[in-house]
């Protein structure tokens, strides 16, 4: 089995011609962890529901574990898909205790069932809570029961719909890493939906960025961050400076002076430079400017700078030197910039081509 999950041109149109998902093609290897990232209402959850079988695709196909579960002719109902699901609100059955919730999807004999429930309880570290009712558990515990319940029948893929959004921020980081290590342990491929880019960048093997029902880019967090295919993705992921400039080959003239480009372009371009790619110094290097504001982040400080030529940029600086409002500084781009043309395209090729670069990296 090469892929645990494969979709081709998956499209869902709701009555009234409302396009929810358009031409989404995804591939997921066994054990891989894919994150779908995008703004709310962008089609992530619909995609997940299509994969689970709660919605019927308008066109396109879905393959789970080398079996076609949905295409133009076939439609496998959710109960025959071997797809597990962890819901945003967990959806633990309120009238069943923890062990019955976990055992719910198990079809084998009683003894096997008990053994599997016990394995799952150990896996999620809730062996003490087997007889409790869902409402007697904390949010983090409910989350882990939901995970155990979905994993118990050994699904080919696990779908998680914003599973951490109902948790407090301090609990979230903890549960997130627990879930990650549990999934690593079981080796289950997982598709995980979130609108939180920090969560996506930190957790995923691969990120699929979805906007308005369309897949904009599928790549590793590293590539999504450093080489977004277009300015939409770039604006969504992380903070960055976007400056207009004139490209001529491998360099471009910009408010920051002549800066290097990732690849050769010509004409008017929008340049993306991450705050950490700017070098702020007192030495006369780059363009002169002054500190407008400053935020202290512990291991770095973020500076709002106004250049003498009027441009405004944000930059990260080390904490070895304390800068304050009004201080004169020099700013230079330390790394090559990514250039988007007038259409917002980075010129890196089709969204899929980013996929190729994962394999080489």
């Amino acid at each position: 089995m090469e892929f645990a999950l494969q979709t081709e041109n998956l499209t869902k149109v709701y009555p009234g011609d409302k396009l929810a998902v358009e031409d989404v093609s995804l591939r997921l290897r066994p054990g891989e962890f894919l994150t779908m990232l995008g703004p709310s209402g962008g089609g992530k959850t619909t995609t997940l529901r299509l994969l689970a079988g709660f919605e019927r695709p308008t066109s396109g196909s879905i393959e789970v574990g080398a079996q076609i579960v949905a295409d133009d002719e076939r439609f496998t109902p959710p109960e025959h898909r071997r797809v597990g699901m962890v819901f945003q609100d967990y959806a633990l059955f309120p009238h069943l205790d923890v062990k019955r919730n976990i055992a719910f999807g198990l079809r084998n004999g009683k003894r096997d069932r008990q053994a599997q429930v016990k394995r799952m309880l150990d896996l999620v570290d809730l062996a003490d809570c087997a007889d409790r009712m869902p409402h007697e558990l904390s949010g983090g515990q409910q989350q882990r029961v939901a995970l155990a319940r979905a994993l118990a029948p050994n699904p080919d893929i696990l779908l998680l719909d914003e599973p951490f959004s109902n948790l407090d921020s301090h609990l979230r980081a903890q549960v997130r890493s627990q879930v990650r290590s549990i999934l690593l342990e079981t080796g289950t491929a997982a598709v995980f939906v979130t609108h939180d880019q920090q969560e996506a960048l930190g957790l995923a093997d691969e990120i699929a960025v979805i906007f308005e029902g369309r897949l904009l880019q599928v790549a590793t967090p590293h590539i999504i961050y450093n080489r977004p295919v277009n300015s939409q993705v770039a604006h969504f992921i992380g903070d960055a400076n976007f400056l207009w400039g004139e490209a001529h080959g491998w360099t471009a003239s910009s408010p920051l002076g002549e800066i290097k480009l990732f690849h050769a372009r010509t004409g008017r371009v929008q340049l993306m430079i991450r705050p950490e790619a700017l070098q702020v110094s007192l030495a006369e290097e780059g363009m002169p400017g002054a500190v407008e504001w400053r935020e202290f982040h512990g291991h770095f400080q973020r500076l709002g700078l106004r250049l003498q030529n009027g441009a405004e940029v944000i930059a990260n600086a080390g904490v070895d030197r304390f800068l304050k409002r009004g201080d004169k500084v020099w700013v230079a781009a330390a790394l090559p910039a990514l250039a988007f043309d007038a259409n917002g395209d980075a010129g890196l090729g089709e969204p899929r081509s980013a996929d190729a670069s994962i394999k080489s990296s």
């Binding site: 079988g53 709660f54 109902p77 109960e79 898909r81 959806a91 999807g105 319940r149 029948p153």
Partner: protein
């Protein structure tokens, strides 16, 4: 608890709360639609036959419709409805306020006794009022030492209004009380801080928040009044239901159908007006109910009047009927040693009510699924049509079914199945409402989770949805049971010959003026009803 959850769950005039909460689970939808279609076809039989009956009357029917007598009946019904709604509101508002927001002693007791008025059927209340307040009744006997030889009596409009007012005031008091308990206290505090006095706060802040609950309760009362048969029959007040009964008994189906259609027209008009009013009041929303305790307002010197008021209301609603029943019971034992076959009556009443409640609940199940989950226009219309029972008084359904059976289904005429169908059509909305709201409270993700864990749609329904909705379904079952047991006109017209229930027994005793034999079936009916009500309340948290 929103006021809408309090009583009128079966209640949904013109248009439903916005679309489905959950997306339909791929699978059992076709089956639910097919089953619903069968149920709705049965529900539509009376409507169809009323129209056929009225049309068959032809010109004669139109003449009959336009006769002064028919107009007078319509005027009677309208006047009765307006008077009852007015007086019930006048009683219910202070009653609701006193039992929720004041420091009146024994508030819970007053509330419970007020609720008890709901288990006494209107014909029983009417008969006991007649006995107590009639020309030579208990009141006259009390006043005799003062030289009162004879009272004017209460038959007619006055008696009908009084009876139905005390039977229906809980329909208004309960939702209003729930709304009062859910009023956003901070709004009142804001009013106080802006310098409003008590009266201004009530008029400008509390009353607008009560509006939806008050309107719902008043509508329930008005509809009940239009459809009530027992009280107007006992009080000899010529409203539609009584006139229809008399025509049906004389087998003048065409005339009865004409009258029934006018009655339904009035009901629909009322619903239409109510939906207009309700939409006008949309911007008033009951706050989500902050958890803060509402402090009871001290009554001070008004405590005694408050107690007297609640005492009087409860006495009229429950005390007087029970008192008269006790009097009859005593007289019955002394003067009439022959035992009525109470066990037979009990078996018939409870048996037919239980079977009907089960039938109705089963029939309501697919419709409640459609109501909670359906999203096509077809689903929507099926559910709307199934609610027809709300605008068809029992007497009208019975009339139409007699007409239908005598024309096409003589084999089921005057059999139990036809009687049960009659009950089912009348009370289907109650069960759909209760079951639907139980479904709507269940997270649709539960069923999806079950599906992704390998359950078929049916298994998910049986193992997840049904157990979780059990409380609501049971409450609906009890509600139907309670109402079928009290139902008089349907039973009188559709029952098999010789089939007696508590209700028919009370009626025939009244009819034969053998009043003391009302006592035993009367008490039995009240006790069984109270048990059903208690089951219902346990699952519905009416009274907090």
């Amino acid at each position: 608890m929103q006021p809408s959850e309090v009583i009128p769950t079966h209640w949904r005039p013109f248009g439903r709360p916005s679309a489905s909460l959950a997306r339909w689970q791929v699978g059992n939808r076709k089956l639910a639609q097919a089953a619903s279609l069968v149920v709705v076809s049965v529900v539509m039989i009376p409507v169809a036959y009323l129209i056929i009956g009225a049309v068959s009357a032809g010109q004669e029917g139109i003449d009959y419709l336009l006769r002064a007598r028919t107009m007078r009946i319509a005027g009677n019904s309208a006047a009765l409805m307006l008077a009852v709604t007015f007086f019930a509101t006048v009683i219910a508002l202070p009653f609701a306020w006193l039992t929720s927001r004041s420091d009146l002693p024994w508030r819970r007791m007053w509330l419970a006794l007020g609720l008890a008025a709901m288990v006494i059927p209107s014909y029983l209340t009417a008969v006991t009022y007649g006995e107590a307040l009639g020309p030579k009744g208990l009141l006259q006997q009390l006043l005799a030492p003062l030289g009162v030889e004879r009272l004017p009596g209460i038959k007619g409009f006055f008696g009908a209004v009084m009876t139905i007012t005390f039977v229906t005031f809980p329909y208004i008091a309960l939702p209003v009380r729930a709304a009062l308990l859910h009023c956003d206290r901070s709004l009142e505090e804001a009013g106080q801080s802006l310098g409003l006095n008590r009266m201004q706060i009530f008029r400008q802040i509390i009353l607008p928040q009560l509006r939806p609950a008050l309107l719902a309760g008043m509508l329930m009362t008005a509809l009940y009044t239009l459809s009530d048969f027992g009280a107007v029959a006992v009080m000899h007040f010529n409203a539609f239901t009584r006139a229809i009964y008399l025509q049906t008994n004389a087998f003048r189906m065409d005339k009865a159908s004409v009258l029934a259609l006018v009655l339904i027209g009035m009901t629909l008009l009322l619903l239409y007006l109510q939906s207009r009013l309700r939409n006008g009041g949309r911007h008033y929303r009951i706050g989500s109910g902050s958890a803060r305790n509402l402090e009871a307002l001290p009554l001070g010197k008004w405590k005694l009047p408050g107690l007297l008021f609640c005492g009087a209301v409860v006495f009229m609603g429950v005390g007087l009927p029970l008192l008269v029943l006790f009097k009859w019971l005593a007289g019955h034992i002394i003067t009439n040693p022959v035992q009525i076959p109470m066990t037979l009556l009990m078996r018939n009443t409870v048996g037919v009510s239980a079977v009907s409640a089960l039938v109705v609940t089963l029939a309501a199940f697919p419709l409640a699924l459609l109501a909670a989950r359906g999203r096509t226009r077809f689903d929507h219309w099926l559910v709307e049509l199934a609610y027809a029972g709300n605008v068809l008084p029992g007497i009208v359904i019975a009339l139409a079914l007699v007409f239908f059976a005598s024309q096409h289904a003589l084999s089921i005429y005057q059999t139990l199945p036809l009687l049960i169908i009659g009950y089912a059509i009348r009370y289907l909305p109650f069960s759909i409402g209760a079951t639907e709201s139980a479904f709507a409270q269940i997270n649709p993700r539960f069923e999806e989770a079950a599906r992704s864990l390998g359950m078929s749609p049916w298994q998910a329904l049986l193992r997840i949805t049904a157990p979780l909705a059990r409380g609501g379904i049971l409450a609906g079952l009890a509600l139907v049971f309670l109402n079928v047991m009290k139902e008089l006109p349907t039973t009188l017209i559709l029952r098999p010959i010789g089939f007696r229930t508590f209700a028919t027994r009370i009626w025939s005793s009244y009819d034969e003026a053998f009043l003391s034999s009302i006592a035993a079936p009367g008490f039995a009916l009240i006790v069984v009803s109270a048990i059903a009500l208690a089951i219902m309340l346990r699952h519905d948290d009416f009274a907090h």
